[in-house]
Each structure stands twice: as structure tokens, then as C-alpha cells.
């Protein structure tokens, strides 16, 4: 009896065990289903200042690949540097029938798009602010800490000038409204306060235009022939200041620092050929993946838009001839081809 019971119990256990085994296999990882439910068919729209410059094209290529991979729809709008066109594009997008679930916005200045971003959030759209800070609590800011960026530029120029130089620095600012220009300036000044023997002798605006940058730099060099370093606030126009330096035959004397997106032809090629001495550049992949992570998080969070507004600052690095390596830059063409596949 006892043995029978034991045998029965053993058999039952075996059968149960056998029965349980496949049941365990059926109990799948809940992740993929939840992920698909939250992500599939979701619309992500990117509105940069323009779709024509390296960073925007890089973000778009990486975002497109990622959004497609989770079964979403990715679109871009190209305001072509016009604040009005950008506002119009955002208005159209949030009022259309196929309104996006996540809106990624690069703001032209601190305030222009604040109301529109609020409207978008009220309609249930998550807003991710990128690259250019604005006075608005978006669902996340992903991009550079421009104050820190300015500090890195100033540190580079102080180092580039060296202790035995004239210690005179020129700035070619962007304009007086864009947060990137204002914060960059503030960051530069912080470092210069710590190095009081370094002086800013001129700080004209380029209005982000290369020809203007060249003309103001020519004048700056004319007035201060012993300048040892120049910080141009964007590599989109720094070709102008660099050409002025080259024309004056002062490439060896003047240390030119700028900032850019780290694209191969725009950044690394120009560091290699001596157009720029140092470029504080954004690590595009990390920055874009931070956007992707925010998109994935927000779409699954279930939180209403406007709940939190974290700053996801990107890592930046100062690219110089000394530390230039094949991984310092990214290649736009390769990236775009990868996105098409």
C-alpha cells in the first residue's frame, strides 16, 4: 500500500512535471507584447531648424531606423531656418488627423515655440526638446549643455594659446537671441573669469553666416593683430573666420575653436587639414540613442505629457589634431544608407 501510494505519487509528480514543463515554456517574456502594444504604429515627428545640416540629418537617419524597427511611423518637417515656417509646421502637425504621439522639436530661441509645445502636450503629445534649450518644461531635453560647451571651448582656447601668448581672444558669436549663442557665451566667460589674464578683445556676431563671419574676423585681426585665439560659435559659419585667419597668414599664431555635429566632412576633415584647431563636438550616436530611449520610455510610461522634464545632456568631446581618430566622427552618407536598408 505504502509502496503503491509512493509509486502513484511519483507517477503523478512525473505527469504533473511533464504537464508543467510545457506550461512553463508557454509563459512567455511579457516584454515584447507590451512593447509592441505600446509602440506599434506610433508616430514620431522631428522638426529641426532645418533638415539641411549635418546634425539634423544624422538624428533623422538614426531615428528613422529605430522608429521603423518598432513598427512606428517617422516623419520630418523642414522649416529651413524660418521660425515662422517651423511654427506653421508644428501647428499643422498637432492639428492633423494623424497627429503624432511624440513631437521632437529643435527650438530657434528661448520662447517662440513655448505656446505650441504646451498645446501639443494638451493634446496628449509628448514633446522632446533637442539641441537648443527653450524656456519650457518639455517631456525631456536631449542635447548639449551649452554652458558646459562654452567652457570646453574656452578651456581649449586657453590651452591652445598657452601661457606665453598675447592672451587676447576674439569671439565670433552667433546672434543675441539663440540660447546656444547666449549660453555658450556665458560658459566661455566662466572659464575666462578663472583665467583673468586672458581677455576678450572683440566679440562681433556672424548671424550664423560664413561671409559675415569672415568679414568681422578680418576686421578683428586688423584691429588686434596679436590675437592668439578665436572661438567661432558654430562650424556652419566658422569656414569664414578660418578663411580670414588663413588670408592673414596667421594659421600658426591663432588657435581657432568652434563647435559642430562631429560629421566626417564638416568636423574631422577640417580638423585634419588645419581649418579648425579644435572642435567641441556632439557624440551623435549617443545623443540620438538618448532620444530613442526617451521615446520608448515615454510611450510605455502611461504618464500624461508634461509629467516630468528631465535634462538628458549629451556627452561632448573636444576633437583636435592630436586626439583625432577614426571614431572621432561619423559619416553622414553611411548613416543615410544604413537607414534606407
Amino acid at each position: 500500500m505504502k509502496i503503491r501510494t509512493m509509486l502513484l505519487a511519483a507517477a503523478a509528480a512525473l505527469t504533473l512535471g511533464l504537464a508543467v514543463q510545457p506550461a512553463l515554456a508557454i509563459e512567455d517574456d511579457p516584454g515584447p507584447a507590451a512593447y509592441e502594444k505600446a509602440m506599434k504604429g506610433k508616430r514620431v515627428v522631428l522638426v529641426p531648424l532645418s533638415m539641411g545640416f549635418d546634425l539634423a540629418q544624422g538624428w533623422a537617419a538614426i531615428l528613422e531606423r529605430e522608429v521603423k524597427a518598432f513598427g512606428g511611423v517617422f516623419e520630418t518637417r523642414d522649416p529651413n531656418w524660418s521660425t515662422e515656417a517651423g511654427a506653421q509646421a508644428i501647428t499643422d502637425v498637432i492639428n492633423s488627423d494623424a497627429k503624432p504621439d511624440v513631437l521632437i522639436i529643435m527650438s530657434p530661441d528661448l520662447n517662440s515655440y513655448s505656446k505650441l509645445m504646451k498645446k501639443a502636450q494638451e493634446k496628449g503629445i509628448y514633446v522632446i526638446l533637442i539641441d537648443n534649450p527653450a524656456n519650457y518644461k518639455a517631456d525631456a531635453y536631449v542635447g548639449g549643455d551649452w554652458d558646459r560647451l562654452g567652457q570646453m571651448e574656452a578651456e581649449a582656447v586657453v590651452k591652445g594659446c598657452g601661457p606665453n601668448s598675447s592672451k587676447k581672444i576674439g569671439l565670433v558669436q552667433g546672434d543675441q537671441v539663440n540660447a546656444t549663442s547666449l549660453y555658450q557665451y556665458a560658459g566661455i566667460m566662466k572659464v575666462l573669469e578663472k583665467n583673468p589674464d586672458f581677455k576678450v578683445v572683440a566679440k562681433p556676431d556672424s548671424n550664423w553666416d560664413a561671409t559675415t563671419s569672415r568679414n568681422v574676423t578680418v576686421t578683428m585681426l586688423q584691429q588686434n593683430p596679436d590675437i592668439c585665439g578665436i572661438i567661432d560659435f558654430w562650424d556652419g559659419d566658422a569656414s569664414g573666420s578660418s578663411s580670414a585667419i588663413r588670408d592673414a597668414g596667421k594659421q600658426d599664431q591663432i588657435y581657432l575653436v568652434t563647435t559642430g555635429g562631429g560629421e566626417e566632412t564638416a568636423t574631422c576633415a577640417n580638423v585634419a587639414n588645419g581649418t579648425y584647431d579644435a572642435v567641441v563636438s556632439t557624440e551623435l550616436y549617443n545623443e540620438s540613442e538618448a532620444m530613442v530611449a526617451m521615446i520608448k520610455y515615454l510611450l510605455q510610461s502611461g504618464q500624461p505629457p508634461g509629467t516630468a522634464s528631465p535634462y538628458i545632456y549629451s556627452l561632448m568631446s573636444t576633437v583636435t589634431k592630436e586626439n583625432l581618430n577614426p571614431r572621432s566622427c561619423w559619416n553622414l552618407k553611411a548613416l543615410q544608407e544604413a537607414a534606407k536598408k
Binding site: S50, A210, T211, R214, T219, Q222, S243
Partner: protein, 324 residues
Amino acid sequence: MEQRGQGWTQERIVFALAVVLFIVAALGLRGFADPNNLIAIVRSVSVLGILALGMAVVIIGRGIDLSQVSVMAMSGAWYLQMLNDGRPEGMALLTVLAFVVFIGLANGFLVAYGDVPPIFATLASGAVVYGLVRSQFIGSETVPLPPGHWLEALGRMRLVTVPVEVFLFAGASLLIFLFLRYTTWGRYTYLMGDNFQAARTIGIPVRPMNLLRYVISALLAFAAGLLTASNLFSINTRVITSTLLYDIILVVVIGGIGLSGGKGGVRNVVGGALLIGIMLNAMTILDISNIYQNLIKAIILLAAIIIDSLMNPRDEQTAQQGDI
């Protein structure tokens, strides 16, 4: 016909103003009168001046070309893009040249045969040129100059320490001067600008003349684009959103070429360009921020237009609808 100065013409006012400004700046600003700074002034306006020469030819014959900056940036960018893609030099140059001539012809055709007011025809064609080249032919806003290209050498070239673009501006000025002053077609330009109907009635080929003027303007724009590329070793098409187009009109109007046509010449363009150059240089030395520089330029443009409309009032007998 051309206005022969009696007393204070606008041209003389501008000239006097430029001299006064020059003396004040030379006395008051450190480093302004340095020969290198003076060369830099001429150089800084040479691209602007070349564009203004084209604009002058169009305006003197009654019209305006708002597509200039677009043609300059996009033709240059497309040319560089083709070189970067490995196309042979000659083919790239000829393709873009043909494109530029076609744009000039199209502008002229719309104005001469389509009776579209030039201000609208060229505004639209400029937008088309930008959109077409930007979307179809170039990948990025900034197109770099391939290393070792002849434009690099041109940008580095100096004749007796003076940058070559100063001579190119002088050469272009001379050519346009000879065209306007000594060729029949040049004289026609004044007649057309002065009284279009009369010019047509006496048998001047006004329609082909319109084509010619817009083609000249487009070609000069292309030349300005190449020169920009040789300076900056790249072309940034974002220049289209800058105030360059207004600066060109500013140079022409401030120099004393009446917007209603028929008056002025190369002298006015050179005078206007130098005045603007001196002004911008002095403002930069004074470290005046861009916002105020633009404000000052805008006020001067406004004043110049008001003076222009007072000195060259619209001729009700010859004015046409759509004239600027």
C-alpha cells in the same frame, strides 16, 4: 537719358557722405586708415559689388532680380557637389553654366513675353531654383570645395599683396561699364528704363533685351558664387536666408541708381559698395552688435529710397503697372 548732375545729385551726396564717413573713421578709429584695412574694406564688398553690378543692369533697364542670391548660392553649391561626386571639371562647369543661363532666360522670358512683373517673376524663380537644387542635386546645405581645386588657388592668389577678388570686382565693373556706355545694347538699356513704350515704338528689340539683362545678372551671380567658394572653401546655401539680397539693393539704391530705371551706372555701384563697406567696417571696429548694424542699414536704405523717390519721381506717362 542719364541724368547729368546739376548741383547736389544723389550720387554726389553719397560720394560726399562716403568721404566724410571715411575721414571721421580714419581720425576716430584706431587701425581704420591702415592700408591693409582699406584693402579689406574693398575686398569685403567685392562679392556684394559684383552682385550689385548685375542688379544695376537689370534695374537701369527697368526691372529687378530677386533671384540673384538664390542663383549665386545654388549654382555654386551644385557645381561643388558635382565635383565632390567625381564629375569631370568641364562637364560640371558647363552644366551649371547652362543652368544659370537658362534661369536668366526664364526670368527674362517671364518678364518680356509673359508680362509678369519682374518683382514676382524673379521672386518665384529664386524660390524654384533654391527648392530644385536643394532637393534634387545637393545633399547638405554646406557643400565643401574639394581639396586642391583651382578655386582654392584663386582664393589664395594675391597681386602685390592685394587679394585677387578686388581685381575681379574691378574687372567686372569695367566690363559692365563698357557694356552700358559703349555698346548699342547698353544704350538701349537706358532707353528702355527711361521710357519703355517709346523704346519699343522706335524699334528697340525690347524683349530680347530683357532676356539679355537677366542673363547678365544670373551670370554675375554665378561668378559671385564661385568667388564666395574660393574665399570660404565651401558654400553654405543658408546665405539665402541672410540679408544679402537687401544689401545688394541697398548698394544700388544708395549709389543713386533710381529704382524706376534709366539712370545711373557703374560709378554709382562702386560708390554705393564702398560706402556700405566703410560703414560695416567702422561698425564692426566699434563692436556694434548685428541687431543694431541691421537697424542702421535698414534706416539708411529707407532714407535712400525716400531720397530716390523725391529725386526721381515716378513718371506717370511711362510708368507701368508692376513697376517697382
